[in-house]
């Protein structure tokens, strides 16, 4: 698992989500829900850089999406939707920190950690979530290791390197339709590996 090149990813995302956002702006609740599901993990990770306690992170992220929903009409598409969300999240996290003295935050974070009886957990995650995150990463890693190389390339070039479908098609001299198919097939392979890992949480997901 490697960090994505932020500039490349932003370039791809700039054009992304426009139809989902347009539908959400016109009152389609499902369109907004799809955007929440798509971005909530990345927004939570961003907020957690500022806010040390998991329960506070969730409160702040909820606030981010509530504010985004209320202000959907103010999003003009001048940036990627994710960039807009990211800025809302930064403001919300900093606003939260201003309301809560740092010493109190650190005391609460320490108390939460000691309640977990798990000294290795240091970022506000519960042991259960940490274990599941590890299992998810392992399942994806093992799935990639057994997958046809052309599927791995298509998926990782898109998701990690930020290449567009047409970039990938050009790189491998294949039609864009082949790239669509490869990315989908790669996801299906990994989804089947993830299903048993995620089964305990099925009822809690969207």
């Amino acid at each position: 698992m490697r960090p994505v090149d932020a500039r490349l990813y932003a370039a791809v995302m700039m054009q992304a989500d426009s139809e989902l956002v347009r539908l959400a702006q016109s009152g389609n609740q499902l369109a907004f829900e799809a955007l929440v599901v798509k971005y909530q993990r990345r927004i939570a990770r961003h907020v957690a850089r500022y806010v040390p306690i998991a329960s506070d992170v969730e409160d702040v992220v909820q606030e981010v999406f509530l504010r985004a929903y209320r202000g959907l009409h103010s999003f003009r598409g001048d940036s990627a939707f994710y960039t807009w969300l990211y800025r809302i999240a930064t403001n919300a996290a900093l606003s939260f920190l201003r309301r809560s003295p740092r010493e109190e935050q650190l005391d609460d974070a320490e108390e939460e950690r000691s309640n977990l009886f798990e000294p290795g957990v240091s970022d506000g995650e519960t042991p259960e979530r940490t274990l599941m995150a590890s299992q998810i990463a392992d399942a994806v890693r093992q799935g990639l290791a057994r997958m046809q190389p052309e599927l791995v390339d298509a998926l990782t070039l898109f998701e990690v390197e930020g290449k567009s479908y047409s970039d990938i098609a050009q790189m491998f001299d294949v039609p864009v339709g082949t790239v669509r198919s490869r990315i989908f097939r790669a996801r299906e392979v990994l989804a089947k590996r993830l299903e048993p890992v995620l089964a305990p949480q099925r009822d809690r997901r969207w």
């Binding site: 993990r41 209320r70 997901r205």
Partner: protein, 78 residues
């Protein structure tokens, strides 16, 4: 339909197909699950492999409970 969900996630779906696929997502639990897992796969590859323990549902519940509406003139960055 799962392939269309994959394309929706990547913003590669034809604009005319987005609303029908969203409709299917609204009525098909297995399809919604696919959308969620495909998204998790991408985030995991980017190093953000956090399981969804109902986080999204709690956001939607709060939106509904508080009757949050899209408001003209509200700027969330202000």
């Amino acid at each position: 339909m799962s392939q269309k969900v994959s394309l929706l996630l990547d913003s590669q779906l034809d604009a005319d197909d987005v609303a029908p696929v969203l409709h299917e997502l609204g009525v098909d639990d297995a399809l919604r699950d696919r959308f969620t897992i495909y998204g998790l796969v991408g985030d995991t590859l980017r190093g953000v492999n956090v399981p969804d323990d109902g986080f999204s549902k709690r956001i939607f519940a709060r939106l509904h409970r508080e009757g949050v509406k899209v408001e003209d003139g509200f700027d969330p960055l202000a």
